[in-house]
């Protein structure tokens, strides 16, 4: 152990933390070039603190990844006095907003680590991370994420949202069903940009060896949730309301897979003793409404999804041979040849595909990044089927289909265990 190590907290940030001192409530706000929205988000956060926690010692910590648009200055420049007249709110205490820029390029893991370190140094009792991209954030979100921790003794609060049925497809088709099947707890948004946590969970995670794997902590928020499950911390879900649609390009998929699926697959090795012993799943306690599904029609280029699937299966055959079992690969190649009307990527085949990728990820025969990239076309194929299956589905039907997929992940979990053992 090195006693003298270069700190990832700057002296200036430490000085700011000293001035803040112990707090009850800490709001972490990771940013990078969010000048357009950050002002109103900080206002909303301040309102949320004044409404929900007027007596508590509170601080907003901005961890900025090198913005060039003045985002940090906007965070620290937002005055509580701007909030008060409109909302008739009054602050008993000083409400601090401090900001720090970390050295590397923007990385949510570095930002989160900075926030966790601040939470530990300030002995924060309840913390929340808010996303600078959530344009429809409401002041109540603060209470909904913090109150279960501050008042009810929970350690982690993950959000649930009102989403369109075709929003968050990576979550509904992979992350949720797989984490649920493996870890045994039905957490709808195990990876989220808004979540609350206790100081003790934050400190415990800060000390874990997840920070120096060369990924700049990509997807570390998911590792955080998984750490809370494996550490048997008290977890609940809280309904926040509508999650506004964020426009994404096709090229965004691979980074998202790296961040979410990469983080999930990375956790499986260290967490094996826990997930291998879990059978079935339990619902997580939920405050407020259950998550909700919106049905408004949206335009999706399904044709392109199927084309990208078929092209990928053809072009990446040699890669797939290293990852997938012959039978799974043959089945994928078969459906890749089907026309649009006949195309169907069944749940069982999708689960087998994912589990084989997960097992292969641990073997490191080929680069992990290549494995993740190779999953992208297959995921698009699965999405095509999900869209087709649910294009006319009601909210209940969509939920039933997701539940069916979850049960398939649970049913086939022994297959993953078998792959894991054969790997050894």
């Amino acid at each position: 152990m090195k006693l003298a190590e270069e700190s990832y907290l700057t002296d200036d940030f430490l000085r700011q933390l000293i001035n803040v001192g112990e707090v009850d409530i800490l709001v972490g706000l990771p940013t990078h070039n969010n000048a357009k929205t950050i002002g109103s988000i900080v206002h909303t956060i301040q309102s949320g603190i004044l409404r929900g926690f007027p007596r508590e010692r509170a601080v907003i910590i901005n961890a900025d990844g090198g913005s060039r648009d003045g985002t940090p200055e906007l965070v620290t420049g937002v005055s509580i006095d701007d909030v008060r007249p409109a909302s008739n709110l009054y602050a008993l205490r000083t409400l601090h907003s401090i900001s720090t820029k970390y050295a590397n390029s923007p990385a949510s893991g570095v930002a989160f680590r900075t926030i966790l370190a601040a939470a530990e140094l300030l002995r924060a009792k309840a913390c929340v991370v808010m996303s600078p991209e959530s344009a429809n954030i409401e002041p109540e979100w603060l209470s909904q994420l913090l109150r279960p921790i501050y008042r009810d003794g929970f350690d982690l609060v993950t959000p649930t949202y009102r989403r369109h049925k075709f929003e968050g497809l990576l979550i509904t088709n992979l992350l949720y069903p797989m984490t649920r099947a493996l870890y045994g707890l039905r957490i709808r948004e195990a990876y989220s940009l808004e979540f609350g946590f206790s100081g003790r969970l934050g400190s415990q995670f800060l000390g874990q060896n997840v920070w120096n794997d060369g990924t700049d902590g990509a997807g570390v928020e998911l590792r955080f949730t998984l750490a809370a499950i494996t550490g048997r911390y008290r977890i609940c879900q809280s309904f926040l309301g509508e999650k506004e649609h964020i426009e994404r390009r096709a090229a965004d998929l691979v980074p998202a897979l790296r961040q979410i699926v990469g983080a999930l697959f990375s956790a499986l090795e260290p967490d094996f003793p826990v997930w291998s012993a879990v059978a079935g799943s339990q619902p997580a306690p939920t405050t407020g409404a259950d998550q909700e599904v919106l049905l408004a029609p949206v335009r999706v280029n399904r044709k392109r999804l199927r084309e990208m699937f078929s092209t990928g299966v053809a072009e990446l055959e040699s890669v797939f041979q290293s990852i997938l079992s012959p039978s799974t690969l043959a089945e994928l190649q078969r459906i890749a040849r089907l026309g649009e009307e006949e195309f169907h990527y069944p749940a069982e085949l999708w689960v087998r595909t994912v589990y084989e990728f997960a097992a292969s990820y641990q073997k490191s025969v080929i680069s992990r990044d290549h494995i993740i990239q190779a999953l992208a076309p297959l995921f698009r194929g699965r999405v095509f089927t999900f869209l087709m299956e649910n294009r006319n589905a009601s909210a209940d039907d969509v939920e039933n289909n997701i539940e069916g997929l979850c049960l398939e992940f649970e049913r086939l979990k022994p297959y993953l265990l078998q792959l894991w053992k054969s790997r050894e």
């Binding site: 000085r15 700011q16 000293i18 001035n19 803040v20 001192g21 112990e22 007027p54 007596r55 010692r57 009054y90 602050a91 008993l92 205490r93 000083t94 601090h96």
Partner: protein, 559 residues
């Protein structure tokens, strides 16, 4: 003695300061005659008893005593229900006893502030008895009468716990009379010139005897007007200005202190252009000092002082931590009041009206560090500090006594019979002594603390001595420093070439603070209690580390 002549030196004591702004440098000790010392063994404190204890007060270092009402009274409101303005209550002695007390106090360099109530009398006062006796009585118009109880609807009810209306029915004259306080305290009618003249005569009576100042109770309510809240009306200010003009004419150097529980902006007119009150209590600051301490945040204190308007140079704020009333929470927001109740009065029995009926030490959990810090702020913020009797030794309270009597128990002089307050049988005392194990007189008393160099009493003597060593605290300007550490309340008091830096740690934990003292670059800091030097101020932020609830007073010296 002719009014207008300064009271000179007497006996072997100290001469009184002849400066007409003496009240700016004063440290006032508030005491009720009844509570302090009983010289004749009847169980009630008296003037002679108080006179016997003047040496103690001189030793403490205070420079003025404020005596609560001592006039003849049915005592249904602890003397604030006056039945005769030109006499003293027989329980406290005679007028001659008072004269003697006055002379002895002056001999020791201690001024005497007495208190009177302009707004109302007792219903037992002969004026009211005459007024109610018939509609034609010449004094009928000395009070505010009405055939209905619907006038002045805009006026709030102050004693919410006991009163349901500001009007009370008088069965004798078959009409309603106006009262802003208890129903047995009818308001005088200041629209009547005879009333105004009579009240000046009352003041003149005592001023001619030699009293140095009046604390005038409940001044915002003197005049009523339909369609208003009947508080702070211009007509009320006219009455007060007239009294001040007469005072200056006949008795220069005497002082008027206003009791007006109002927001700073509403209080400001009571100073006029230096032609109304000399001093006024800063009511909103006091609860915010307690709030800042509990929150460990300077915000409530700096915020209220930022909202405090400038006052004429001859005027002064009067600051206090506790007094004979409840810790009033009228001048705070609802949210702040709820917080204060939860923080300082968990038990409902500790609450009264809109306040908390507790003494300083119990409010602060008898924590010596917090008691010292609060006194440190009291003595260093702009204004004249008032120390409530018994708080200098950390006396407790008795919340089982009704109304505000729990903070008006006998002074604890020693651990002996009745705590040295009286030789009477304990059953005859006007109120029982505090006897609990923590605050009871065997544990908390003057005698035992005099014998200990580190007692609260000796510490109070020291801080008063230090405060009086410079005029900067009484007369200087204030400039707040806003270090990033919000647990630190720091300010510089300046008067001429003299400057004192005050740094208070409101936190229960040790704190580091960086102060921007570049303005004072080159100065050496000299800690005023130990007189030790601290490093010279340079270009860099001045770093101080402070223990829990610690405070520093530094003299800034350019050497």
């Amino acid at each position: 003695m002719q009014g207008g002549t300064e009271i000179g030196p007497g006996g072997n004591g100290l001469p009184l300061n002849r400066d007409v702004l003496w009240y700016k440098d004063a440290i006032i000790y508030q005491v009720h005659v009844r509570t302090f010392h009983d010289s004749n063994g009847d169980g009630i404190g008296d003037f002679r008893g108080l006179e016997e204890k003047l040496d103690y007060l001189q030793e403490l270092g205070i420079s003025a005593i404020w005596l609560m009402p001592f006039f003849p009274s049915p005592l249904r409101d602890d003397g604030y229900d006056i039945a005769d303005y030109n006499a003293v209550h027989s329980s406290y002695g005679t007028l001659e006893d008072f004269r003697k007390l006055l002379g002895s106090a002056h001999d020791r360099g201690i001024r005497v502030i007495i208190e009177t109530v302009l707004n109302h009398t007792s219903d037992q006062h002969p004026w009211f008895q005459e007024s109610r006796s018939s509609q034609d009585n010449p004094r009928r118009d000395w009070y505010v009468w009405s055939d209905t109880d619907t006038r002045y609807k805009g006026a709030r009810i102050i004693f919410l716990d006991t009163e349901t209306s500001n009007w009370a029915w008088d069965p004798i004259s078959k009409s309603f009379y106006w009262h802003r306080f208890f129903s047995h305290q009818p308001d005088l009618n200041y629209d009547n010139p005879a009333v105004r003249e009579q009240m000046w005569n009352v003041m003149k009576f005592w001023l001619e005897m030699g009293v140095d100042a009046f604390r005038l109770d409940a001044v915002p309510y003197l005049v009523e007007r339909e369609g208003t809240n009947c508080e702070n009306l211009p007509e009320t200010h006219d009455v007060l200005k007239e009294l001040r003009r007469k005072l200056d004419e006949k008795f220069p150097g005497r002082m008027l202190l206003a009791e007006a529980n109002q927001w700073p902006a509403d209080l400001r007119p009571y100073f006029g252009d230096g032609d109304e009150f000399h001093m006024a209590f800063h009511f909103p600051l006091m609860p915010r000092m307690f709030m800042g301490l509990k929150l460990e945040d300077r915000k409530p204190i700096t915020e209220i002082l930022q909202q405090t308007p400038e006052i004429p140079s001859s005027c002064q704020w009067s600051l206090f931590l506790r007094n004979h009333d409840e810790l009033t929470l009228e001048m705070v927001t609802d949210m702040e009041r709820d917080y204060m109740y939860d923080a300082y009065a968990e038990s409902k029995t500790m609450r009264l009206n809109l306040g908390i009926r507790r003494r300083l030490a119990p409010l602060l959990d008898n924590d010596r560090r917090r008691i010292e810090l609060m006194n440190g702020m009291l003595m260093s913020l702009p204004g004249t500090p008032i120390v409530y009797y018994g708080d200098e030794i950390g006396m407790g309270d008795n919340i089982n006594l009704g109304d505000r009597n729990g903070v008006r128990t006998p002074m604890q002089w020693n651990g002996g019979w009745n705590g040295g307050f009286s030789t009477a049988d304990p059953e005859r005392l006007y109120a029982p002594l505090i006897q609990d194990p923590v605050y009871g007189y065997p544990a908390v008393n003057v005698l035992s603390q005099r014998g200990s160099e580190h007692s609260l009493l000796c510490w109070m003597q020291r801080i008063i001595t230090v405060r009086r060593s410079t005029g900067v605290f009484g007369r200087g300007s204030i400039e707040f420093l806003y270090p990033a550490n919000h647990r630190i309340l720091a300010y510089v008091r300046r008067l001429g070439n003299e400057a004192v830096l005050v740094v208070n740690n409101l936190s229960s934990t040790a704190q580091a603070v960086e102060l921007d003292l570049r303005r004072y670059k080159g100065n050496i800091l000299i800690e005023m209690f130990g007189k030790n030097m601290f490093p010279r101020v340079g270009d860099l932020p001045y770093l101080l580390t402070m223990g829990p609830y610690q405070f520093y007073w530094f003299r800034l010296r350019r050497i």
